[in-house]
């Protein structure tokens, strides 16, 4: 007999284990959670999204994705823990309840399934997807440089061998196109949060430009609140600000696309950095990382609920 009770949330898992967990999770919480198939990856793997909903048509929604860079294992693990936390806390947490009584939450735990499978089978440090083009030796596109907004600009690379290769065209990658089609088709997303690791940051658009976005002040204050909420859990300090001023110029990225597509609350997270492990964060830190991240996400969700637009 299989159940999510026997799943270890403080361990890393393979793609098959995660997809099996998703099936069990959905079966056990079918009143609140469903699984949506939004497309296929380059290597024909299913791209799955968890939908948390208390019902009602055409609700406003919040998007969370983890694992767009496949080697950032802590992000997938955090996505799993947070999904479980949502169902655990729903009855006890009045803020979450209020959010879910008005909005739906969508979580894509493995945004880059081909890359993730490859990190388990061949190369633990693989970042990109696995797409290939005729006549080009190097494989893989950096899925976080393949979005339409600012495509091809500073902080992305046209060299297919680069880790920040942007791909041949905007949304050329099925993993990106699936999300774009889904979010555009839905039409009512109000927040989009893309989770990466590591360098302890909460950031907002733009990445492709130094120009402040029109909602800069609100996003700055919300990032500050999120970071404060995160700090209160385990005392971990994050920095925050716009992507281009806090980290570096990066073009064709998820959250710039989100913002320019009308999703005002667009944030990118960089999870824990202990300064010792990089992408190889020990599994013992999964739960603490997820716990603090959840509080930051909850802050953004609450603000999104309380500030309709």
């Amino acid at each position: 007999e299989r159940s999510t009770n026997s799943f270890s949330y403080s361990s890393y898992h393979t793609l098959d284990e995660i997809y099996s967990w998703i099936d069990n999770f959905v079966a056990e919480h079918s009143n609140l959670v469903s699984k949506i198939h939004i497309g296929k990856s380059f290597e024909n793997r299913s791209i799955l999204v968890l939908k948390f909903s208390t019902g009602g048509p055409n609700r406003t929604a919040i998007w969370i994705d983890t694992g767009i860079h496949s080697r950032e294992w802590i992000t997938h693990a955090t996505g799993i823990w947070i999904s479980q936390e949502i169902v655990n806390a729903y009855d006890k947490d009045h803020v979450l309840k209020k959010v879910l009584n008005t909005m739906d939450i969508f979580i894509e735990i493995v945004t880059n399934p081909d890359g993730f499978a490859f990190t388990h089978s061949m190369n633990r440090l693989w970042r990109k997807n696995k797409s290939s083009q005729p006549g080009i030796v190097c494989i893989g596109v950096d899925l976080n440089r393949n979005w339409k907004t600012g495509f091809g600009g500073n902080g992305s690379n046209k060299n297919p061998c680069s880790e920040t290769y942007r791909g041949p065209a905007p949304e050329s990658e099925p993993e990106v196109a699936a999300i774009v089609d889904f979010i555009t088709g839905h039409g009512n997303f109000k927040a989009m949060i893309s989770i990466h690791s590591y360098s302890q940051m909460v950031m907002y658009p733009y990445g492709h430009s130094l120009e402040p976005v029109p909602n800069h002040e609100e996003l700055f204050n919300l990032a500050k609140d999120a970071v404060q909420a995160l700090y209160q859990v385990h005392g971990i300090q994050y920095i925050y600000g716009s992507i281009s001023t806090t980290l570096y110029s990066a073009s064709g990225i998820t959250v710039d696309w989100a913002y320019d597509s009308g999703i005002k609350y667009a944030f990118s997270f960089e999870l824990r950095d202990t300064g010792q492990y990089g992408f190889l964060l020990p599994a013992s830190q999964i739960v603490p990382t997820a716990e603090e991240t959840w509080m930051a996400l909850r802050t953004i969700m609450t603000h999104t609920l309380n500030h309709p637009y």
Binding site: Y12, R124, L125, Y248, F279
Partner: protein, 94 residues
């Protein structure tokens, strides 16, 4: 599985924009030998760079010759990967 025995991750603290630029040059010179885990962004942020075992002497020499201070963040990546794999196997058994 790719074996990362002897590969290291170096954490570099660039003092200024000029030193960051030297690190960016390193990336363009050796795009497949040096893997930036945290890219050269601004002097207040550390740069983390995975260097393959075979490239370590030349990269360390490059850093030293340009006065770039660094410390070894991960001494041997494969050791951590082995630990990670063992932990997953143990968890699966449990």
């Amino acid at each position: 599985q790719v074996n990362f025995t002897g590969d290291q991750v170096l954490r570099i603290l660039a003092k200024n924009e000029k030193q960051l630029s030297l690190l960016r040059d390193l990336e363009s010179q050796k795009p497949q030998k040096v893997d930036f885990w945290r890219g050269p962004a601004r002097p207040s942020l550390p740069v983390d760079m995975r260097v393959s075992f075979s490239e370590l002497p030349s990269v360390k020499l490059y850093l030293k010759s340009h006065g770039l201070a660094y410390r070894v963040m991960i001494k041997d990546i494969q050791v951590l990967l082995d630990e990670e794999r063992d932990a997953m196997a143990k968890s699966r058994r449990l």
